[in-house]
């Protein structure tokens, strides 16, 4: 059968749905890399995102970690920010009105953090009546905290309990962001799915370490820090692929995503949406460039709907013949 020539007017459906969260395209940003959009509005039309995922919001202001907070590694980045944020009241007073004015209609996913289950629920309860919030992303995977964060995300029981508590507090789509610092991420994924999560975000940063040999000191005051960037992409892709096969809820893939080709890889591995993280720092326009690339890719591949790509990776032995003999 003769294929239609690829033309400029051959439109590709880019809209996706994650749980009940409708996105005009599958692209979002990883929490903590994009603040709440304002800082990047000088460089890029943030309303072009499928959704904006905010930096972690806590019930009370958090000052974050002391000492150095960032250290570049080969194709990556270690951070120990410690979720510094002014708290949910300032978020409601400053960030939400700014987003409503400058990016009306852009779905806002609020990343929620706390030291205890009570604190997570406090944030959700405070935000539940705010019109500008579209969904929550429960951050039970930040490695840069002594209490809370990853402590909830490395035990299936604790993760499920936290998810259930948050589930009871909201009718909005509830995403849970998973840590890669576990033996079997699918166990965690199944536990939070059973506890009521509408979708899963993965991965958060990998636990890493850096030492300054000239001083023989740890670079970071907390010693360990979170690794992100292209260095972690193959690990993230593997985990997205594993989790997408293990659960029925949609997955938002992230971890070293740097271009349109990376996005398509995550979609093929089973992600329904994909987030740019560390890549935003070098190129705030990366999601715009990626979107154009993905549309071109879809046309070239005769894909009319980006959703066709989700989980569409082909099995190793699907085609045979040439490999034999």
């Amino acid at each position: 059968m003769r294929r239609e020539p690829v033309g400029c007017d051959s439109s590709v459906n880019m809209a996706v749905t994650v749980g009940n969260l409708r996105m005009q395209n599958p692209l979002t940003v990883a929490s903590g890399t994009f603040a709440a959009g304002r800082e990047y509005a000088d460089f890029v039309a943030i309303a072009g995102l499928g959704a904006l995922t905010t930096k972690g919001v806590s019930a009370k202001p958090w000052t974050g970690n002391p000492g150095k907070r960032m250290y570049e590694t080969a194709s990556g980045l270690l951070n120990s920010i410690g979720l510094q944020n002014p708290g949910v009241e300032v978020f409601c007073a400053d960030s939400l009105p700014w987003l409503a004015e400058h990016a009306p209609g852009l779905p806002v996913v609020v990343n929620v953090v706390g030291h205890s289950a009570r604190e997570y629920v406090d944030v959700i309860e405070r935000l539940e009546d705010e019109a500008g919030v579209s969904a929550y992303e429960l951050n039970i995977s930040c490695p840069n905290l002594d209490a809370g964060g990853m402590a909830f995300g490395t035990s299936a029981e604790a993760a499920a309990a936290m998810t259930a508590a948050a589930r009871a507090a909201t009718k909005r789509p509830l995403l849970v962001k998973l840590s890669p610092n576990v033996t079997d991420i699918t166990e965690l994924a199944r536990a939070v799915e059973a506890a009521g999560a509408d979708g899963l975000s993965l991965i958060n940063t990998l636990l890493g370490l850096a030492i300054d040999v000239s001083t023989r000191r740890f670079v970071f005051e907390r010693r360990v820090a979170g690794l992100s960037g292209p260095a972690v992409k193959p690990v993230a892709l593997r985990m997205v692929w594993e989790v997408a096969r293990a659960v029925d809820v949609p997955v938002i893939g992230m971890g070293g995503v740097s271009c349109g080709e990376d996005v398509v890889e995550f979609l093929l591995a089973g992600a329904s949406a994909v987030a740019f993280g560390t890549a935003n720092f070098a190129n705030p326009r990366v999601f715009v460039e990626a979107l154009a690339w993905i549309e071109d890719y879809c046309r070239a591949q005769d894909v009319r709907d980006v959703n066709e790509l989700v989980g569409a990776v082909r099995e190793v032995r699907e085609t045979s013949g040439y490999a034999k003999g």
Binding site: F34, E39, Y40, G67, K68, A282
Partner: protein, 286 residues
């Protein structure tokens, strides 16, 4: 006391920020430092910098995921000049780049040095205190102040002759009584640290309008303390490791009396009296 504006953030948001391709037109050693000149390409907007603002330079190296923040020494037309020291992998690679290499400039970033209004600038007297390559962000400031008939006295300090940043350039710019030099090894000017000549200047005449300071953090802290003791308002340009450069990631915060401030977006210029120097030590770059 001070005719210098109290409002450091007066220049924030007053002009658009751009990402512009930039081609290397010169990259050469200057004593202990290097000078990089780039020619800015076409972009949607024009890069307009105020003295004290900085840029984030994209080096086009796939294994280095971050841009590098640099002060701007000169910006004339489409040409931008930065001065740098080789301190790590990024600057090592930058040093080895040849003419014609394509880079990317993001800016202008951060706030700027507060400059007295034109109506009241003429006749004011200010001190510029530069340690090592900290002289770079003071160059455009000096030009701007001179254009407003402000009387500028610069104390240029470094560990030795090769590290006196743009000494000849400042000699050409400033009258002979507008430039003092201090070197740790005594190879040029007064032997010893910058606080020696600074104390002399302040003893002789403490009635300056304000001081602008840039250099290593201990040097800035010491100069700021001297200025403060004489009731002289001073401004410092801070440095921290940065990831985003636009205020989003919170990597580069410094402790101030107003709480943690983002050096990239709330600074890099701060009122020296607001910086909590002892607490800042733990997050210093070096």
């Amino acid at each position: 006391m001070s005719g210098c504006s109290d409002n450091v953030s007066g220049c924030l948001g007053s002009m658009s920020k751009v990402i512009i391709p930039a081609r290397i037109v010169a990259n050469e050693s200057r004593g202990g430092y290097y000078s990089l000149k780039v020619c800015l390409g076409a972009a949607e907007g024009e890069l307009k910098l105020k003295p004290g603002q900085f840029i984030e330079l994209g080096l086009g190296q796939s294994d280095l995921v971050l841009r590098r923040p640099f002060s701007v020494f000169q910006a004339k037309g489409c040409e931008l000049e930065i001065l740098y020291q080789v301190v790590g992998e990024g600057t090592r690679r930058l040093r080895d780049m040849s003419m014609g290499t394509e880079l990317s400039v993001m800016g202008p970033l951060g706030n700027c040095w507060p400059i007295p209004d034109e109506s009241e600038a003429a006749g004011q007297r200010v001190l510029l205190l530069a340690g090592g390559i900290g002289a770079a962000p003071l160059a455009m400031l000096a030009e701007e102040l001179l254009a407003r008939d402000v009387r500028v006295k610069l104390i240029l300090a470094a560990r030795g002759r090769d590290w006196l940043c743009e000494y000849e350039w400042f000699q050409r710019l400033l009258p002979s009584d507008g430039l003092m030099v201090a070197t740790d090894d005594g190879s040029v000017g007064v032997a010893g640290m910058i606080t020696g000549p600074l104390d002399l200047v302040l003893q002789r005449d403490p009635s300056y309008d304000c001081a602008y300071i840039c250099g290593p953090e201990p040097m800035m802290a010491a100069c700021a303390r001297r200025c403060n003791e004489e009731g002289l308002a001073s401004w410092v340009s801070m440095e921290r490791l940065m990831a985003c450069g636009v205020g989003a990631c919170l990597s580069c915060v410094a402790p101030t009396t107003k709480g943690l401030q983002r050096v990239c977006a709330d600074g890099p210029v701060f009122a020296a009296k607001e910086v909590m120097w002892d607490e800042a030590r733990a997050s210093r770059v070096r």
